[in-house]
């Protein structure tokens, strides 16, 4: 067992780096970031398109540029890194076991741990798409790595299933590299991606987006030869007679991201069935004291700027915890998501311990026009903000003021819901 660190951060992507920098800036001098890949920056390294940093830096950067700015700050001192190192276990008493080629198996004790492991892409198998299992079926992120890091094209004639952001980005990327993208099929009647990506990646290149459509069959035994796409009804069931064959050699999937929490489970951390990330309180602490979470491991984000913000908060809180100055929780008020809102992060708030202003992030379950996001304190409406459009692909946020909560004695529940505007 090594002597240990005040804070150990699992994952050196955007969340881990932002958390490390914020923790150091908050006065923590003993920080270790453990990263499984050979370099810092995580998935940003393969996101060579622009659109990152508009909020954080007020300018448009590529993924590697955004990552590099954080890496430079992190490398400025006070933070240790272990690269090419895979964490294999976290114990509830905060001993992290990791393996690497250079260090072998190491056990490191930490006063606080920040989970920043990110997420993985949902694979084809989880969709039960019938047909063969040939080469040429890739998750969009795998294809992105092949094209942008390895420098190789996974296909010529492409169909994309799912309109998540990586799928949209890859529609443009494959087109720019000379492939032909026949269409993007989306099961839902709305896109799962950002509006700006639909415009910039599909519309600008004349790539059709087929809403309420899905792949019902994959043809080709060795390599994909065609996919059959059908329209679906209101319950997502394919409508017989609407099948169209798209000859292609490649099917890219962008059908959802899943927070990677297998390690969290090993520490006994409670997960939300909705976000599939840890349940956290106002300081982004999980159900295990001293273990915090931020970024896509907590809930899937669409903008890295928000990952950085959230992770910085986790970093500051973990630093306070490690120094022993984070107040104990005096009680947790649950946040309940209702009527069109799928979840909130955090899921509980201690009014006494919360900062003066706390950002609560959430997603809606459908596309809504002209609705209001309402916040109720024990049945009393405290906020009612009109929104012209809300979509599942765009994360939303509401700010809660400490003063409001403190001024509501014996607060039992905070409800988030959509209402008529």
């Amino acid at each position: 067992m090594t002597n240990g660190y005040d804070i150990l951060i699992i994952g050196g992507g955007p969340a881990g780096l932002a958390a490390a920098i914020a923790a150091r800036d908050a006065g923590c001098a003993s920080i270790l970031v453990v990263e499984r890949d050979c370099e810092l920056g995580g998935i940003l390294n393969q996101c060579i398109h622009n659109g990152f940093g508009l909020i954080t830096f007020d300018e448009e950067l590529t993924g590697p540029e955004y990552a590099a700015r954080f890496e430079e700050l992190a490398r400025a001192g006070g933070i240790d890194f272990m690269l090419d190192t895979m964490v294999i276990d976290i114990s509830a008493d905060k001993v992290v076991t990791a393996v690497s080629r250079t260090s072998g198996m190491v056990r490191i004790r930490a006063k606080a741990i920040i989970l920043a492991m990110g997420c993985r892409e949902r694979p084809r198998g989880s969709l039960n798409i019938p047909g063969y299992r040939p080469a040429g079926i890739y998750s969009a992120g795998t294809a992105q790595r092949l094209v942008n890091i390895e420098g190789f094209m996974p296909g010529r004639e492409v169909v994309i299933l799912g309109s998540g952001d990586i799928g949209l980005i890859m529609a443009r990327r494959m087109t720019l590299e000379g492939a032909h993208v026949a269409c993007v099929a989306e099961l839902m009647p709305y896109s799962g991606g950002l509006k700006r990506n639909i415009v910039q990646c599909l519309d600008d290149f004349g790539i059709p987006l087929l809403l309420s459509h899905t792949v019902v069959r994959i043809e080709g035994k060795k390599r994909v030869e065609a996919v059959i796409i059908a329209e679906v009804d209101g319950r997502g069931k394919p409508i017989p007679g609407t099948e169209t064959a798209y000859p292609c050699d490649t099917l890219l999937l962008s059908v959802g991201l899943i927070p990677e929490n297998e390690l969290s489970l090993s520490a006994g951390i409670g997960l939300s069935p909705v976000t599939r990330g840890p349940v956290v309180n106002e300081v982004l602490e999980t159900s295990v004291e001293g273990i915090f979470a931020a970024g896509n491991v907590l809930h899937v984000h669409d903008l890295v700027d928000y990952v950085s913000q959230e992770a910085a908060a986790a970093g500051r809180n973990a630093a306070a915890y490690a120094r022993g100055v984070l107040a104990g929780s005096a009680g947790a008020v649950p946040l309940t998501a209702e009527d069109g809102i799928r979840y909130t992060v955090p899921q509980t708030i201690d009014p006494v311990r919360m900062p003066e202003e706390l950002i609560v992030r959430f997603r809606v379950d459908n596309v809504y026009e002209d609705r209001s996001v309402s916040v109720y304190f024990d049945g009393k409406r405290m906020q009612h903000r009109k929104r012209s459009i809300l979509a599942p692909g765009e994360m939303e946020q509401v700010k809660l003021k400490k003063g409001d909560l403190v001024a509501s004695p014996d607060l039992k529940e905070i409800v988030f819901k959509l209402e008529e505007a």
Binding site: M105, N128, T142, A179, V216
Partner: protein, 486 residues
Amino acid sequence: MDAFDVVIIGAGVSGAACARELSKRKLRIGVLEREEDVCCGTSKANSAIVHAGFDAEPGTLMAELDVRGVELMGGLCADLDVDLDNIGSLVVCTAEEDLPKLEELLARGRKNGVEPLTIIYGDELRALEPNIADGARAALWAPSACIVNPFQLTWALAENARVNGVEFFFNTEVIGIAQDDGLWTISTTRGGFAARAVVNAAGVYADALHNMVSADTLEIIPRRGQYLVLDTAAGRHVSHTVFQLPTKYGKGVLVTPTTAGNLLVGPTAEDIADKEATDTTAAGLAEVLAKSVLSVKDIPFHETITSFSGLRAHRKEHDFLIGELPDAPGFVDCAAIESPGLTAAPAIGEMVAGIVDGILGPEMRGDFVPARRGIPAVEWACDEDWEALIAEDAAYGHVVCRCRKVTEAQIVAAIRSPLGARSLDGIKRRTEACMGRCQAGFCTSKIMDILDRELADLAYAEITKAGPGSELLVGRDKELGGGGLL
């Protein structure tokens, strides 16, 4: 033309078992395989069960070789370092009126010599298997049933045969067989082979080969079985292999843990015409879902990570067909090996070798190597064992497949071993890399890097998923032309 004493056609589990058994003799043996690797047909896509032996009709070859296979399997898996778990099986009866059929099955099992075998009821059944469906009345409990890793078993048999001198020819499809002056000549897509004896272990294509040499024709009907595979998070949902007693609504599906810690649910049973149709269908997958809940409740299907189909080599007589053809001396069928073919494989090898002994009368060798070591899997190792592996080879510290915790050392071993992997699927079957919940999303390019580095004759862009025609890439960036949109 290369001349052999014995040519075995097919490198599935039957062919591999025959090859290993025959390699104990002083014979020159060749194995011809259409695919790029061993274990590419039925052997890779089945229930992976070592059946206790109560199912087969007494007096059939199936019954005999099933029971003999069970006897041999434990020692064989120990010798060859193959994962075998003795978890026992339950045949669940869900309808009162079917209880006599359960009794029949018990009687049949006893006649086949399966011991121990008992029927358990209600509370006892639920205590043994808490997630059994509420409608379950009773079950036939066969503690001797096991699950086995079919990829490892086939590969280990073949590798051990290779170490003992058997020569393997992959991507080699047989297109003709003829006998001339007591010698068989086999034409393939990669030239001709001559042999004094031929073993036909060609799976669903065994009939095509059989009919090349015999007037007494054989028909193999591919009987497709579709399965769902659930993540290891669901792997302990049941702790035994749970079969269903056939009902008036038809044959049921099984729910079982696998040796890799997943949960396997299936199969369907559809007689089809196309011997290449290893595809899944919407109807088939729906049937698996619907039937499985009859015997096991609350299966967490949201943990499904993949689905697949396998083709059983069925014939209407529903029995194995093993023997020298009367009208084609020296040609030995090892055909119609459907369930319990995996269980019977060691016994099939033994039987076929005995038949070849009768034809060629070979001497036994004194230097047969009976055992081999598999690739240590860190996923299941305790920390001390993993540390010891890292001390031996630092590459055991480099995790490449995060979901199944497969290290670079394991992948390199899979490539460098005799009959090493040359494709992504080859790596997958040998190491379980790519078999986890991300289904190769993260490790594809990393494994390609290792294949590229290890195999001097294979360029990066030529790396395949499963042999020629399944290339993963189409070229370098910018090579496709077109585009021009910037």
